[in-house]
Amino acid sequence: MSRTDVMEHEDPTIEEPPGAPERVRQVTVRGISARVSVRPGTGPYTDAPPLLLCNGIGISFEAFGPFVEALDPRRGVVRFDVPGVGGSAPPPFPYTIAALSSWVTALMAKLGYREFDVLGISWGGGLAQQLAVQSRRRVRRVVLVATGTGALMVPANPKVLGIMATPRRHRDPGYAAEVAGTIYGGTMRTHPEQGAALLHSMTRAGPKRGYYYQLLAMTGWSSLPFLKLIRQPTLVMGGDDDPIIPAVNPRMQARLIPRARLHLYDGGHISLMTEAEQLAPVVETFLDEQDTNDSDTHAD
């Protein structure tokens, strides 16, 4: 913080959280201006690699709000909007996952982080896998949540894929509530309005083109051939009631990634946000482990 804060907080009724405040800002990387939110690490996490969060398709970083709140407030967290989504400018041309991954690494370097942990959910999980392989010296630990291996995976049922093919659910709260149970599963089947609220409360809808670029980037991409190359300790999480990513996918990932551990939970596709209280500690425990070089045992 370059500015001196001239405000004093002497009133006990206004409690500042023990961590540093989050700052949203625009950062331009390779000519594309991206909206980024950075919460610097404090206390024990001052020098620890921050956690980079990669979001699902078409969703701006606000959706991670509940999850970030459930984390230790002193942990460094970086969230960003993929170009063409939310508050980030659309890229001039379609991109590939490899190009986006290289762009994200440049973004982190520009923010001053040489090393970081990465967590990806759903579409962002694909990006996280690519990052782990492509920037192996930069990425320390990997968390994959409700994600698959791209084109070569056990697919969701066609009805779900049809709903996923357009960004309509991000633009139309009524429609979102109607389909939330079908596509997200878990608690969304009983409380669909929660999903609508999550996707609509404070999230930003980017242009439709951004969504289609994201779909296009994942088309034909698969991490299956290079899962063996992910050397980082990896936590694979998946829900037992996830219509988009059938549970067999995380199982397969955990089998193929050398140092992976599997954590299956009772829930759906976006449980990380809706049941953050239960899942955040699992992520924290994994991130705080001391690095050992013996292969982690597979849990089934």
């Binding site: 370059s2 500015r3 001196t4 804060d5 001239v6 405000m7 004093e8 907080h9 002497e10 009133d11 009724t13 206004i14 405040p21 989050e22 700052r23 949203v24 800002r25 625009q26 950062v27 331009t28 000519g31 594309i32 201006s33 909206r35 939110s37 939310g86 508050g87 980030s88 400018a89 659309p90 001039p92 041309f93 633009r171 139309d172 709260p173 609509h200 930003r204 809808a205 980017g206």
Partner: protein, 581 residues
Amino acid sequence: MSTIQRIEQERSRDHGRLDATDVDPDDHALETPMDMILADAGQSPLRRMVPGMSGVRAVASLATKPRTVARRTAGLAAELVRVGVGRSEVAPARSDKRWGDEAWEKNPFFKRTMQGYLAWGEAMRELVDDADLDWADGQRMGFIVDNIVEALAPTNAPVLNPTVLKRTIDTGGGNFLNGGRRFLRDYATAPRVPSMVESDAFSVGEDLAMTPGKVVLRTELFELIEYAPQTDKVRTIPLLIVPPTINKYYIIDLAPERSMVEHLVRSGLQVYVMSWRNPDSRHADWNLDAYGAAILEAMDAANQITRTTSVSLLGICSGGIITSMLMGHLAATDQLDKVSAYSLMVTVLDQGRAGTTSALLSHKVAAAAVARSEEKGYLDGRTLAEIFAWLRPTDLIWRYWINNYLMGRPPKAFDILYWNADPVRMTAGMHHDFLDLALRNALVEPGKGHMLGSLVDLSQVTTENYVVAGIADHLCSWESCYQSTQMLGGPSTFVLSTSGHIAAMVNPPGNPKASFRTSEENPPTTQEWLEQASKKKGTWWDDYAGWVGDRSGEWRGKPVKAGSSEYPPVCDAPGTFVHDR
């Protein structure tokens, strides 16, 4: 020389001074006059270049005057012959920066090219004048002919521009490689105009919008920023600023020492600013009422935090229109005591003939525009940016065309242009309401506009008010701004600042060229006002800080902390909404 002539001189001088490198750059395109710009957003800039019925009428009119046309043609032919033999006296206007290169003066070929072009352009413009069209058609045809003439300037062609030729030799053609790259990048995404500033030239919160403060309230529509006091004593009554809804708020908190907010905070005011949310398709139904209610909400928060019962309101441009309608609502519901002073900046309430643009507005076009934004849910700020740019092609398009693509250089870093390239979407509801206001010119007559269920009658707004306009503002002409003093019921102070729409607002102290005019009284016409107005050196910021300070209650000790228990600080200024693209 009469005052009127002097004013015209100043106006044209200010119009001519358009170099972004100037200390006090002139206004570069931005929002309003609502009507035409908002209506035109329904069609592409190319569509606006189609003369339509105006063209038909112009041709028909010229056809009835064969003699005039023949005289013009003969005059042009004679002039072109003189140019050819090198005896022409045609020279560019002093303010025309396009012909700076020595070659235009010394090289016979280039000199003839320039003179031929100038003579032809002049003849084209005179033909439009000859056609004797009515005001609206004349404006429209003038706009189209201007655009064509300026697009065909030899300076825009790589082989006819000596500066570009020299650069090509210097870089071995690298300028076109660079320029080509820039061209692709610019034209791949809207707005499809040459970029006037690098996207990473500045960054909000790092070198723009730096005045310290906290967001004390965040709603769906806005973030309310409370600025930290910088004096030991502050005025009791807070000042709430309502920025435009078509651009980001940070034009009033541009950079340190170039920030109106900072200036007002340093004069001892408690300043609150609303930072509007950049809406998207989900917010299509946010209309004037929603924005009016938001201002009320912000007023209540500022009152609760400062433990007061009234605020001073300051509305800018479209924010000023909403504020004025809200004042109408407060007057109708007998709540005017909630506002102790009320100010408008570059705001046009009487849109009868707001500058160059309303000529182009028609019901049909407006309806098409509204239909288009309703389909999308919003009006894209980038579309507006394109329209603004084409309003002043030489300064806002061709200059950057030459610099970015032909010379292959990055555009200069300039904060106002960065802000200008950071537009906000407008909800379909707002778009509809604004156009409706403009078409009916609804604020002029009592009871034609409505806000939060009340009929708006501005003559009932008896609060003291302060109205600011820019002399070279071609979007909200100062004459139109002046009408507010006649429409409002309260005593008005009218201030006419130097420069245009934006530069009038960014008017920091220390600029030797800055001055403003003001007068004790506000007679019915602008001419009478000019006759009696006196000119003062310096910036009107100081005058305004004094005026609003006098109406902001007693001095008291500064608050030790931001917010209150009911409105705890959410995050630091500039908040999060300002970052939404």
